[in-house]
């Protein structure tokens, strides 16, 4: 991430602005920045989405593949996350520079979606005990502008909403059961993402906390909590990050904020995705 060097005066300014609930771009402590979401950009994938949250740009592609089941859970489908920090975002991500950040974010997303109630995993099982659908969720980070976790979880949820899983027909042969994946682009089933979580990051600045911190605000904050919140307010994952420590009371305040914001965010995302699908316009992508 581009290192933001702030002077003491700038840090104090941001601290005071958060105290007055009026941040340096005019938002209140619980407001998100301007967000643009678009789905269906990449035709090679089964589902894709692009999220632009101020200057953070994330592109997600979902590809499905038939694969053998996990022996510990033979009746459900699986999901695997992979994050590639592109060097387009900052030269430090060249080669293997972005791997640490990538493993951190992938770990949190895997935990957030690991809870069985988030997605309809049993419906992704094709042949119980043998074959299931494995969803490869590939995230490409194109530009860093603060608040990466939230933008990525939004893009992942949008891409999963957009994903079309082809239908499979099973024919019984003497050699066993043969699976035939449909080639028809209109023969698919959609995924149910109403239970999917969104990650909300709450940064502690001074004695108060903010949601959706910009890069400057992140540089002033020593500790943050990330919560995976679903539409019903269930928490699927929680993680504290940063070299500072938190008071027990601030933690419950921050969790309360995050839950409130998370529930609203989930609702607005699904509404926006529904509207986009109704309009049915061709994806513009980066050309705008």
């Amino acid at each position: 991430m581009a290192d933001v060097n702030l002077s003491e005066a700038e840090k104090t300014f941001i601290l005071h602005s958060v105290q007055d609930n009026f941040r340096d771009d005019g938002r209140s402590c619980e407001d998100f920045r301007h967000m643009e979401i678009e789905t269906g950009l990449i035709s090679n994938t089964n589902g894709s989405a692009r999220v632009r949250l101020a200057s953070t740009d994330v592109l997600v592609g979902v590809k499905v593949q038939l694969s053998p089941v996990d022996p510990e859970n033979p009746e459900v489908g699986r999901m695997e996350f992979f994050l590639d920090c592109s060097a387009n975002a900052t030269p430090e991500f060249e080669g293997r520079g972005g791997e640490e950040l990538a493993s951190e974010i992938t770990a949190l997303l895997t935990r957030a979606y690991g809870c069985p109630s988030t997605m309809d995993y049993p419906s992704l099982c094709v042949l119980p005990g043998q074959q299931c659908w494995l969803l490869y969720v590939d995230i490409l980070l194109l530009e860093c502008g603060g608040n990466l976790f939230d933008a990525m979880s939004l893009a992942v949820k949008a891409a999963l909403f957009n994903t079309k899983v082809p239908n499979v027909t099973m024919t019984k042969d003497e050699g066993g059961i043969e699976l035939d994946v449909s080639d028809d682009p209109y023969d698919f089933k959609r995924l149910d993402v109403t239970g999917a979580p969104l990650v909300v990051t709450v940064n502690k600045i001074g004695h108060f906390h903010v949601v959706d911190a910009s890069e400057k605000e992140e540089a002033c904050s020593l500790a943050r909590i990330m919560l995976g919140v679903t539409q019903t307010g269930t928490i699927t994952a929680m993680k504290k990050e940063g070299s500072g420590s938190l008071d027990a009371d601030s933690i419950s305040d921050m969790m309360e904020s995050a839950k409130k914001v998370g529930v609203l965010l989930n609702k607005s995302l699904l509404k926006a995705l529904g509207e986009e699908e109704e309009q049915g316009t061709e994806a513009v992508g980066f050309l705008r």
């Binding site: 951190e104 895997t110 929680m238 420590s245």
Partner: protein, 273 residues
């Protein structure tokens, strides 16, 4: 993943026999009546701690929580390896490893994703406690190895590591105490064993079912790390956080006593020479 050619690998496809035997309690509803080891839901396992177990390391500690066993070694403060890493604050690195024989299924000897994740979480828990500004241009390395995994490994690792750091003489603001709890619907189970953990995490929660670990510094009343897994209702989570923090307070005197005993023994050892 690249395989190690120096070791004799087993056959390509082999299954552990434990996959085929029916697991005793995969139903957490049974837990509501009685836990397997006879504790009630708020009772924690007895703790055995010992400092100064590895003579070569600067500081070390060993912890046993019934069947969960872990050992930690601290090296440093020593010079950073790369001269370009100059910084006025010291560096703290943590490495969390499971021994290959630690769980029911044999693990790979290379660090997997889970271990990397736990290492990061442990670093988050310990970093706020150590006075890193007192060690410029230096690094402090913490290595935790879990010898036997029977639940609450992250808590055991953090407890062990903070005791090891203290016995190494590294300056800290406070000892870090960690504790875990599992939640199932309205029931909160303190200090879960591995069977209880797995039972809770594999349920499709109609209520809550998840795990929570909190690392706490009692004398300054600050939480240094908090992580949760599984789908949990918000109010249950809030309540459980309070419960776990209380559990941490209860464990604090144990660590203090172990540390005092260790220092007295050292003093005796020095004065007898």
């Amino acid at each position: 993943m690249p395989t190690d050619t120096r070791r004799i690998q087993g056959p390509e496809t082999s299954n552990s026999p434990y996959d085929f035997c029916p697991t005793a309690t995969s139903d957490p509803a049974l837990l509501e009546k009685q836990r397997l080891d006879g504790r009630d839901s708020a009772q924690m396992r007895p703790l055995f701690l010992r400092a100064g177990v590895i003579s070569q390391a600067r500081g070390s500690a060993y912890i046993e929580m019934n069947q969960t066993k872990a050992i930690c070694a601290v090296y440093g403060p020593r010079e950073v390896q790369r001269r370009e890493d100059f910084s006025l604050k010291g560096q703290l690195t943590c490495q969390f490893r499971f021994a290959t024989f630690a769980s029911q299924h044999r693990r790979q000897h290379q660090q997997g994703n889970q271990e990397k994740d736990l290492s990061v979480q442990m670093l988050e828990a310990l970093e706020p406690a150590v006075c890193l500004h007192k060690y410029p241009k230096s690094q402090i390395n913490v290595y935790v190895t879990v010898l036997q995994h029977d639940g609450s490994v992250l808590s055991a690792g953090i407890l062990c590591a903070s005791l090891a750091l203290a016995s190494a003489g590294v300056e800290m603001y406070d000892l870090v105490i960690a504790s875990s709890a599992a939640m199932y619907n309205d029931l909160t189970i303190s200090d879960p064993t591995v069977q209880e953990e797995q039972a809770v995490l594999s349920r499709v929660g109609k209520g809550s079912s998840g795990m929570l670990t909190v690392a706490f510094m009692p004398s300054i009343n600050q939480v240094s790390a908090i992580t949760s897994d599984g789908g949990i209702q918000f109010d249950t989570l809030n309540k459980t956080v309070r419960t776990v923090i209380d559990n941490c307070q209860k464990l604090y005197p144990v660590l203090q006593q172990t540390l005092v005993k260790h220092i007295e023994e050292k003093k005796k050892g020095i004065s007898s020479k």
